[in-house]
Structure formats: structure tokens, C-alpha cells
């Protein structure tokens, strides 16, 4: 069975490192992009089963990525992983529809892995 491919779009190196370790331990193939533009470029190459997307990033932030995905009607499943936890920020996310989001500082790694599995199962990825 092919390994499922997770695209991790995250600019904070320490965060990206631990997430990559945990996702690979769980059997996923992981590509890390350090900003939204890099992430979109990689996504367009195809073969991505799920995007873990940070919001505050240089060059192109997560909100801008969501806008592009919406415009292109790209249906790759997305889970937002962010530390923007204020209600306004959440309302901004929800402008793009019912997107799953996790607040990094409130969510253990085990929960993140659980959400990734659930999302992939739901979307048949």
C-alpha cells in the first residue's frame, strides 16, 4: 500500500521538526514547505493527500493559501495548525468554509495524529 503523503506548511523549524518525526513514525511520507508559496508550488506537483497548514508565515500566509485553494477549487483536505486562537482569527478561518483547525499550544501530538487519521479516512485519502 502506498504511503499517504502529508504536506506540512510550517515556517517554525522546531515545530516542523517534531511534527515530521511524529508523522513519519506513524507511517506517513512528509514534505515540509516553509511558507505558503512553497507549499502551493509543491501541491501543484500533485500526489498530496493532506495539507497541515500554519497560518502566520512569511512570503505567503495560510489565509492566502486558503484563498488560492478556494479559487482553484482544490479539494485536497486541509487541517489548520495554528497558534492564532482568538475568536476573530477563528472567524477568519471559517470564512473559507468548515475547515478543521487545531490550536497548537492546546493540542497534544497524539490528538494531531488522531485528527490526521480521521481526516484521511473521511476523505478517502
Amino acid at each position: 500500500m502506498n504511503q499517504q503523503h502529508i504536506l506540512l506548511v510550517e515556517d517554525e523549524p522546531a515545530v516542523a521538526k517534531i511534527l515530521r518525526i511524529k508523522l513519519e513514525e506513524a507511517g506517513f511520507r512528509v514534505t515540509v514547505a516553509v511558507n505558503g508559496k512553497e507549499g502551493l508550488d509543491r501541491l501543484m506537483q500533485g500526489g498530496v493527500d493532506l495539507i497541515l497548514l500554519d497560518l502566520l508565515m512569511p512570503v505567503m500566509n495560510g489565509f492566502q493559501v486558503l484563498e488560492v485553494l478556494q479559487k482553484k477549487q482544490n479539494s485536497t483536505p486541509v487541517i489548520i495548525l495554528t497558534n492564532l486562537g482568538q475568536k476573530d482569527d477563528i472567524e477568519q478561518i471559517q470564512k473559507f468554509g468548515p475547515i478543521d483547525y487545531l490550536i497548537k499550544s492546546d493540542t497534544p501530538l497524539t490528538k494531531i495524529l488522531e485528527q490526521v487519521h480521521n481526516k484521511l479516512q473521511k476523505t478517502g485519502g
Partner: protein, 418 residues
């Protein structure tokens, strides 16, 4: 002069009488004519005097009115805020210079027309607010005064935020119209946006190292501890738990800073409190189950909606329910009652928890205060929850009080004006 002539004639007549000239038949004849017609002349002259006085009185009154009107117009045009008034049908009767400058409509464009047809009100999502939903409609039908922030559309189509207070004009108890004071709050909104962005960014920047600490300690704790002492594991556990507390503290402190920032931090909207409470209960369901509590909601319809910032009402409900869950030992009962009374939405949150000691009740809403028995149950609370609740309730013009019995439970009573 007319008065002088009239008085003069009277004097002459009296003189004639007094000096006995009337004995002369010719004089008497002349006198008879004078009396017969002179009286008429005097009467006419006096009438003219009265009329002239009246006319000149009327003119004085008109001049006085004109002066007063001019003074009112000068005052209205000098006021820095927009002032507009309507009659009871919502037709504009006053539209001052500041309104003209703010909105681009001249007073001649506006006066005589329905306000809702001249100036559109737009919500923050860019949708026009219908006439029936505008505060002016409520003021004209119910006579209520309201203050709020919304957006007006100028004549050129651009929109801008305004702070408006609309009050009824009452005449002998009947609503005769409405008067509104309007202020352009574009600058204040910009400052508020900057402050909100700062709070968001500060929250993000503080949480990022916390999430790194959490995840790396979680990884160490879940990994192989061969060669570790139990103390080392315990110490690392402390680090992990403290990082979790810090995240909660960051949120609480940032919410408080928003509250203390001032009124322009608010995003006022109509809030269905019943629905909001149901959403909070759903969010807290895992905690309720973890403690094996029973939570019941009792709603006495109709419960009116409130007009305030939804995020802050959320904080009130979340904090009261979280405390009820936390400070009630397992298998407890929590009851949430919602009803409307005397122009307020009433929210009562009762628990069968540990209660609040008598000698500490006066401090319960103080910043950073935690009752001794609360600390024994949860040593890690911030002491900010009830302070935030009280601050928000005060800002809404509401009240909060409580009754409590040690070992039996506590009920918080919140009244929020509609």
C-alpha cells in the same frame, strides 16, 4: 405721536368743560360735534395705537423668533458631531452641517425625505440593514434610546463606521420623532483594528514557544525512560503541565487587555444567548463527562436577545460553567436557567459544589484572587475568570451576584440588559 394727539384732544375737551365755554351756544354746538365725532376720532386713534403696538409687538416677536432660530442654526452647524432629527414617520427634519460634510448629502437633499431612503446603514459584512431593523425604527415605535456602532453609506457610495445615539423626541408623552447624534469613528476603528491585531500577534508569539515545550516534553514523556529516575519523569511532567497553564493564562491576560482597552474594542451584534449557552455546553461536554456531572438547561421562553460583543458573552458563560464543573466534586449537578425579566436576560448557573467561604466572598471578583478551598481543588487556576466576567457584565450595564453555601454549592445570578 398718535398717543400725544389723542391725549391732547382729551385735554382740550376737558379744558373747554372746565372754563365754562360750553355756556356759549356756538361753542356748545362745536362741543357737541367734537364730542360726537371727536370720541370716534380718539377711539380710532387709540385703536391705531393699539394695533400699531400689536403690530410692532408681533414684529418684535417675529424678530425674536428669527434671532433664536438663527442662534439654533449656528449652534447646530457648530457642533462637531452630526445631528439629525426625524418626525414620527422617519422623515428628516434636521440635518446639520456636520452631517452634510460626513455624508455628502446637503440638508436640502435630506430634509423632507425618509432618512432610510437618503442614508443607508450597512453592517460589517457589507449588507444593507433594512429599515425595520435599524435602531431608528425601534426608537420611533418603542421610544427607546440606543447607542451603537454601524456603517453609513455616503452619497458617493463609500461606507464608513459611525457611532450613533438615537433618542425619541417626546411631546406630552407621545413619540413625536427621533433625534440622532452621529460621529465618524473611522480613526477609532483603525486604532481598534491595530490593537486587535496586536493582541492576535501577541497571543500567537507567546503560544509558539509554549507549543514547542508541550510537544517536546510530550515526546520525552511518551518515549523510552530507561535510565531515568522517577524524579526526572515527575519534573518533566511538571514542565509539561506548566506549559499548559501558561497557554490558558496567555488567553486570559489577552482577553483582559482587550476589555480594558475601551469601548471601541467591541463588535456589537444581536446575540441569541440561549443558543450561545447551548454551544458552550457542547464545547464543555468532554469536561462534564470526565467529572460525571449532570448538566440541565432550563429555558423559559421567550428569552430576548442582547446587543453586545458575542465574544465577551461567550467568556461570561464559559467561565461560569467551567467554574461550576471544576469546583463541583464528581457526580455533581449543574443547572443553567435562562429567562427574560424586566428588560433583562437572566442567566443563573447553579452547582452542587464546594461553595465559597463567607470570609472570602467580598474578594471573589478581584483580579488574581482565588478562594482557599478552590486552590485545594485546583492549584493551577489563574484567578482571572470571575474578574473578567464581572468586568464584562459591568461594561454591559448588567449585574452579577451569587449565593453560596459551603459544601452545598453556589449559584451565580447574571442580569444582562436587552
Amino acid at each position: 405721536m398718535i398717543i400725544s394727539v389723542s391725549v391732547g384732544l382729551l385735554v382740550v375737551m376737558l379744558m373747554f368743560t372746565s372754563v365754562g365755554l360750553l355756556a356759549d351756544p356756538q361753542v356748545a354746538q362745536v362741543w357737541d360735534i367734537c364730542v360726537r365725532y371727536g370720541g370716534w376720532v380718539v377711539a380710532v386713534l387709540l385703536g391705531l395705537v393699539w394695533a400699531f403696538d400689536d403690530d410692532s409687538g408681533e414684529e418684535d416677536r417675529k424678530n425674536e423668533q428669527a434671532r433664536e432660530q438663527a442662534k439654533d442654526e449656528v449652534m447646530l452647524s457648530s457642533i462637531g458631531d452630526g445631528v439629525l432629527a426625524t418626525d414620527k414617520d422617519g422623515v428628516v427634519t434636521v440635518f446639520n452641517k456636520t452631517c452634510e460634510q460626513m455624508l455628502g448629502w446637503s440638508s436640502t437633499d435630506a430634509i423632507g425625505k425618509k432618512l432610510v431612503d437618503v442614508v443607508q446603514m450597512i453592517d460589517d459584512h457589507g449588507h444593507e440593514i433594512s429599515a425595520a431593523d435599524r435602531p431608528l425604527a425601534q426608537t420611533l415605535t418603542q421610544g427607546i434610546t440606543s447607542s451603537f456602532v454601524q456603517n453609513y453609506r455616503r452619497k458617493d457610495g463609500t461606507t464608513f463606521p459611525v457611532s450613533i445615539t438615537v433618542s425619541p423626541i417626546l411631546h406630552e408623552g407621545d413619540i413625536d420623532g427621533a433625534i440622532a447624534v452621529v460621529r465618524d469613528v473611522t480613526k477609532e476603528k483603525e486604532i481598534d483594528r491595530a490593537k486587535t491585531e496586536f493582541v492576535s500577534l501577541a497571543s500567537h508569539q507567546l503560544r509558539t514557544p509554549l507549543s514547542i515545550i508541550n510537544w517536546y516534553t510530550e515526546t520525552l514523556l511518551s518515549g523510552d525512560h530507561t535510565g531515568w529516575t522517577s524524579d526526572q519523569v515527575s519534573q518533566l511532567t511538571q514542565v509539561y503541565e506548566s506549559a499548559g497553564r501558561m497557554a490558558e493564562l496567555v488567553d486570559s491576560l489577552l482577553n483582559i487587555s482587550r476589555l480594558e482597552m475601551g469601548t471601541m474594542a467591541m463588535q456589537v451584534e444581536e446575540v441569541d444567548v440561549v443558543r450561545l449557552v447551548q454551544e458552550v455546553v457542547t464545547e464543555l461536554d468532554p469536561e462534564i463527562r470526565k467529572h460525571h456531572h449532570t448538566l440541565t438547561m432550563q429555558v423559559q421562553d421567550p428569552v430576548p436577545h442582547v446587543f453586545f460583543d458575542r465574544r465577551f458573552i461567550w467568556i461570561i458563560v464559559l467561565n461560569l460553567l467551567t467554574n461550576a464543573i471544576k469546583y463541583t466534586l464528581e457526580h455533581g449537578t449543574i443547572t443553567v436557567k435562562l429567562f427574560g425579566e424586566d428588560g433583562c436576560v437572566c442567566l443563573n448557573v447553579s452547582d452542587t459544589g464546594v461553595g465559597i467561604p463567607d470570609d472570602q466572598r467580598g474578594m471573589i471578583f478581584s483580579k488574581m484572587f482565588r478562594a482557599e478551598n478552590a486552590k485545594m481543588i485546583d492549584s493551577q487556576g489563574s484567578g482571572l475568570g470571575l474578574y473578567m466576567v464581572k468586568t464584562i457584565v459591568d461594561r454591559m450595564g448588567g449585574t452579577i451576584s451569587f449565593s453560596s453555601s459551603i459544601g452545598k454549592g453556589t449559584t451565580f445570578y447574571v442580569r444582562l440588559p436587552v
